[in-house]
């Protein structure tokens, strides 16, 4: 079972590393390994094409981060965009946070559709005019021009993380946000770039005693004092910033009890939580570990409310998955707008959706061969053993280099974005 280098599938820089809709769903941002951000905008539905749903077209693209080398620590700093988070829109411009391993940046994306014409000191091409030839004064006039979308970096939040940033989360107060690395979480004010408050620090005095790292963190969607962070040991801690300045002591601790007789070498590795997301309602959190997705009720710490098997057939492949490092893949998970369906990715370009109400689940595939535009996605099935039916795929034929780690769900409609290595798929609900 080989896991070939991703670069065999085209330019490595094109590998998508994050996908995120903004709060209205009008914009969809992707970040990639090459440090670039591409923003798509949904077409306005025109009156004469009512039956045609708005499609997403490229709106803006810019280089967010560059590769760096920290000479003092001999550390290579990748330009890969780990996360993008949008700020809610407060004026005509759009704002988003993008981060690589070390630096968070606030980007402003704005439109320009007018330009001034008739300068006194410059001619139309921008060349300076000879002052001797200027005999009259004129007032420049704003004239319409072709729409231009500009992205400018408004803030750079640097030098606050010794370890690698895995998460950023905008607070519901819209004034602060947090950034989390393997051992620490910092709180920032959007206006201040030379200071940040450390709110969680789990670094032990002696690094030999290190037993767990922070894997993801997120603010509560409504309560600006509450946030959660997950660990590599499969636990989630909920913290209240009103309790103390340094939130090293959690308010709530979520952990599922483990049957000690089931413990194996792989237990801790596969229990490591790769993503944690609050539901839109703020009442639940969803966590993703290597083989399952779990939904937790904030009021019940001793076990999850629901557990969904993503690809349990991989349990008998753990040895190979450890050897080819796939066991360390970090899958994300997302809620739909009404918190009734959850979605996460798998291998072979498969992704899974679980309906929490009907308890039904489906496996779909994001691949060019199997989907033409406007075609309906066909459910897929992995065959575990014994007789394989015609349409099924056997576990041994799964392509482990085709992993869907990043997906996004439109905040209110049934539109999903799925990143399959270096390709982006956008699926919409069937229109009647």
């Amino acid at each position: 079972m080989n896991c070939p280098d991703e670069s065999t599938y085209g330019n490595k820089a094109d590998i998508i590393s994050t996908v995120e809709f903004n709060h209205t769903g009008e914009l969809l941002a992707t970040g990639d390994k090459g440090g670039r951000v591409v923003i798509f905008q949904r077409e306005q539905e025109s009156k004469n094409q009512v039956h045609r749903r708005g499609e997403y077209n490229v709106y803006s693209t810019f280089q967010s981060h560059e590769p760096e080398f920290d000479y003092l620590k001999s550390l290579e700093i990748e330009e890969k965009i780990n996360k993008i988070r949008w700020l809610p829109q407060q004026n005509a411009a759009y704002f988003l946070l993008s981060t690589n391993d070390k630096t968070v940046k606030l980007w402003k994306v704005s439109e320009r559709d007018k330009r001034p014409e008739g300068y006194n000191l410059k001619d139309e091409e921008g060349r300076l005019r000879d002052p001797a030839t200027i005999t009259t004064l004129r007032v420049p006039v704003l004239r319409p021009m072709d729409l231009m979308v500009e992205a400018t970096p408004r803030r750079v939040f640097a030098n606050a993380h010794t370890y690698h940033i895995n998460s950023i989360s905008v607070n519901s107060d819209y004034e602060t946000y947090m950034s989390a690395d393997d051992l620490r979480i910092n709180l920032w004010n959007f206006e201040i770039t030379n200071q940040s408050f450390n709110i969680v620090d789990i670094k032990p005095a002696n690094m030999e005693e290190l037993t767990e790292v922070i894997t993801a963190a997120e603010f509560h969607p409504h309560h600006c004092n509450t946030f959660v962070y997950s660990s590599s040991k499969g636990t989630i801690r909920l913290c209240d910033m009103r309790a103390s300045a340094l939130c090293d002591r959690h308010t709530k601790f979520f952990e599922e009890p483990e049957d000690p007789s089931n413990r194996s070498f792989f237990s801790e590795i596969i229990s490591s939580i790769s993503d944690v997301k609050f539901s839109h309602s703020g009442r639940y959190i969803m966590t993703r570990d290597y083989l399952t997705v779990k939904v937790w009720d904030l009021n019940m710490e001793n076990r999850p409310m629901e557990t969904y098997q993503v690809h349990d057939y991989l349990r008998s492949k753990l040895c190979s998955l450890y050897e080819n490092d796939c066991i360390f893949d970090k899958f994300e998970c997302v809620w739909n707008g009404s918190d009734s369906v959850i979605m996460t990715g798998s291998y072979n370009n498969f992704f899974r959706m679980f309906d929490r109400n009907t308890k039904r689940d489906v496996t779909l595939e994001a691949s060019r061969e199997n989907s033409k535009p406007r075609a309906i996605l066909k459910p897929r099935k992995v065959c575990v053993g014994g007789k394989r039916r015609k349409d099924e795929i056997s576990v041994d034929s799964l392509d482990f280099s085709k992993k869907i780690l990043h997906t996004a769900w439109h905040p209110s409609e049934n539109i999903i974005a799925v990143a399959a290595t270096n390709n982006l798929y956008i699926f919409q609900d069937k229109v009647n």
Partner: protein
């Protein structure tokens, strides 16, 4: 007395077989231990975590490099073994190992 020994042996064997049947994870663990007998006693413990924290670390000392080059003359410089154990001190990085500043002006194919 001689009759007891084969009984306990078969009970242990039976438990092992049961383990393999009821827990594919344990079977996989046995496979891994067979391939890498030196794998850390503390699985998923600090070794693994520390390696994770050190991601991206590359060392280059021009003094070491030039000394090694002079000593070795025509021979190849030692390179890090691609196995699961940590190698420190033996691997002398070459300039080729260090990251190149990549051209960043190429547009993403999604924007094309």
């Amino acid at each position: 007395m001689s009759a007891e020994v084969p009984e306990t042996a078969s009970a242990e064997e039976q438990k092992e077989m049961e383990d393999k049947v009821t827990s594919p994870e344990k079977a996989e663990e046995a496979k891994l231990k067979a391939r890498y007998p030196h794998l850390g006693q503390k699985p998923g413990g600090s070794d693994f975590l520390r390696k994770r924290l050190q991601k991206g670390q590359k060392y280059f000392d021009s003094g070491d490099y030039n000394m090694a080059k002079a000593k070795m003359k025509n021979k190849q410089l030692p390179t890090a073994a691609p196995d699961k154990t940590e190698v420190t001190g033996d691997h002398i990085p070459t300039p080729q190992d260090l990251p190149q500043r990549k051209p960043s002006l190429v547009a993403s194919k999604l924007a094309g």
